[in-house]
């Protein structure tokens, strides 16, 4: 259950539309079912009334949409930002990807977003999903109602939420939370403790499922390049469908490297992967390494910060030490 009710968001949006603060609203649109919410632009109170939703399936991070949306015209866009979205928002501002003046950011608290695939693992034919007191009930076609612990339905990015604090907004609805001491590196550590052979087998298994649909890249708020190297025949790494297992690895290593120090760990990549590849574990490895080698750094925590990969100190860790450190973990 989310702290703020849908009506509060709708009313606020209407108010800002009517007083001319904004001329459109980036929000979540109702789908066919309870869980298939689509990002969309609302221009009127009527559209908001009929189509706006806010709930447990509003996981999409709107930050990246602002790059395109703000370029469309003069007016301001109202955007709803959950705490983790605000980090992406700041990171995009750091990289000058959109004009802050054209955005009115409303911070909304987030209690974690549900992963429908977790419900689908044990229920077929989901007709509706509702929640009460931490219990989620799914009405199914063949097995009647099934009830789940809400916490069990959270994707990794939410069960290991890094922060409930909004780091950017023009106005905050509800209360602000704190940066959390999440266990977000636990999975990474587990992998680090494996042997190299086990790690290789693990990643080979995961990455071999990749169908190169590019959803991870296309949803990633850090991937806003005018032209991605993987689409550019001149880059030397262009590839489309992975014709060999090497290309899957190449794609994911380079992608993770390109967002290293810029990835805010919003987890969208893993959310959208149709093959459930835990892509966030690649990004988190870089984040963990950066924290350990160069001091804690959270991309997007503030606008204008200098990422550790484009910085240095004279007594940095040597690459050989970096991998030997792995040995101690093993």
């Amino acid at each position: 259950m989310q702290e703020i009710k849908r009506e509060v968001l709708v009313n606020k949006a209407k108010e800002l539309l009517s007083d001319g603060t904004v001329d459109r609203v980036l929000g979540w649109k109702r789908g066919e079912f309870d869980y298939d919410v689509t990002p969309g632009v609302f221009r009127s109170a009527e559209e908001l009334d009929s189509g706006f939703v806010w709930g447990d399936f509003c996981g999409a991070n709107f930050s990246k949409y602002l790059v395109k949306e703000t370029a469309k015209g003069e007016g301001r866009v109202l955007v709803f930002l959950k705490p983790c979205d605000t980090y992406s928002f700041n990171q995009l501002l750091t990289e000058h990807r959109f004009d802050r003046e054209k955005v009115y950011a409303l911070g909304v608290p987030c209690n974690g977003m549900l992963d429908i695939s977790r419900i689908k693992e044990s229920a077929e034919g989901i007709v509706s999903v509702c929640e009460e007191d931490g219990k989620v009930t799914a009405d199914t076609l063949y097995d009647g109602k099934k009830t789940f612990d809400r916490d069990a339905l959270l994707p990794d990015r939410c069960s290991n939420c890094k922060s409930k604090k909004h780091v950017a907004y023009d106005e905050l609805l509800g209360s602000d939370g704190e940066v959390l001491d999440s266990g977000r590196f636990d999975e990474v550590e587990k992998l680090e403790k494996m042997t190299a052979d086990e790690r290789f087998a693990f990643w080979q298994g995961e990455l071999s499922r990749c169908i190169r649909c590019n959803a991870c890249r296309d949803v990633c708020p850090a991937c806003t390049c005018e032209k991605c190297v993987f689409d550019n025949p001149d880059s030397g790494v262009e590839n489309k469908a992975a014709a060999d297992s090497f290309e899957e690895k190449m794609f994911h290593i380079i992608r993770a490297f390109h967002v290293a120090g810029r990835c805010t760990d919003c987890g969208e990549c893993s959310r959208v992967c149709p093959q459930h590849i835990p892509l966030h574990l690649l990004n988190r490895k870089f984040i963990k390494d950066i924290d350990e080698f160069y001091g804690e750094y959270q991309a997007g925590a503030e606008v204008g910060s200098r990422a550790p990969v484009v910085n240095y100190t004279t007594d940095d860790i040597e690459p050989s030490q970096a991998v030997e450190r792995g040995e101690q973990n093993a």
Binding site: D197, Q204, P319, S320
Partner: protein, 144 residues
């Protein structure tokens, strides 16, 4: 006893100002090291893009080594500091993916360290040879 015929293929990226000159000095002093090592000259170690390293592995390299000026001595003042960070992160990631960590290395070799260059290459080539062929980062299409 069986003679190990396997010869690794090693790509060495050397910065123009220190390590490439170090390699030249090794030559001047006739310091032998394995011919498996093939050097590519770059202006600074910081020119080495992770993509080049992966490309080398894709095309059949068994080991990739990057040599640059000692930290603090970069011709461009700070290039090798960036190299150090980038490669620390990249190598750690490759290790995380289960790629043998001995296949990649960064070494600081000054223009005066011909002996170090030769010794480093010898050592690296031996380590890589002991790992055998690169299987984990190979592109089957590029196999002969």
């Amino acid at each position: 006893m069986q003679v190990n015929e396997y010869k690794p293929l090693i790509v060495a990226f050397c910065c123009n100002w220190c390590s490439y000159a170090g390699a030249d000095l090794a030559g001047n002093n006739r310091l032998n090291y394995p011919a498996d090592v093939k050097i590519i000259r770059v202006p600074c170690s910081c020119r080495v893009n992770p993509m080049f390293i992966l490309r080398a592995f894709q095309r059949g390299a068994d080991g990739v080594i990057i040599c640059g000026c000692h930290p603090g001595d970069c011709h461009y003042t700070s290039g090798n500091y960036y190299t150090r960070r980038r490669m620390a992160l990249l190598f750690s990631m490759l290790d995380y993916l289960g790629i043998e960590r001995e296949r990649t290395r960064v070494e600081w070799v000054s223009a005066a360290e011909g002996a170090k260059f030769a010794a480093t290459m010898k050592d690296f080539a031996e380590k890589v040879a002991s790992l055998g062929e690169n299987k984990r980062l190979e592109d089957l299409r590029c196999k002969k």
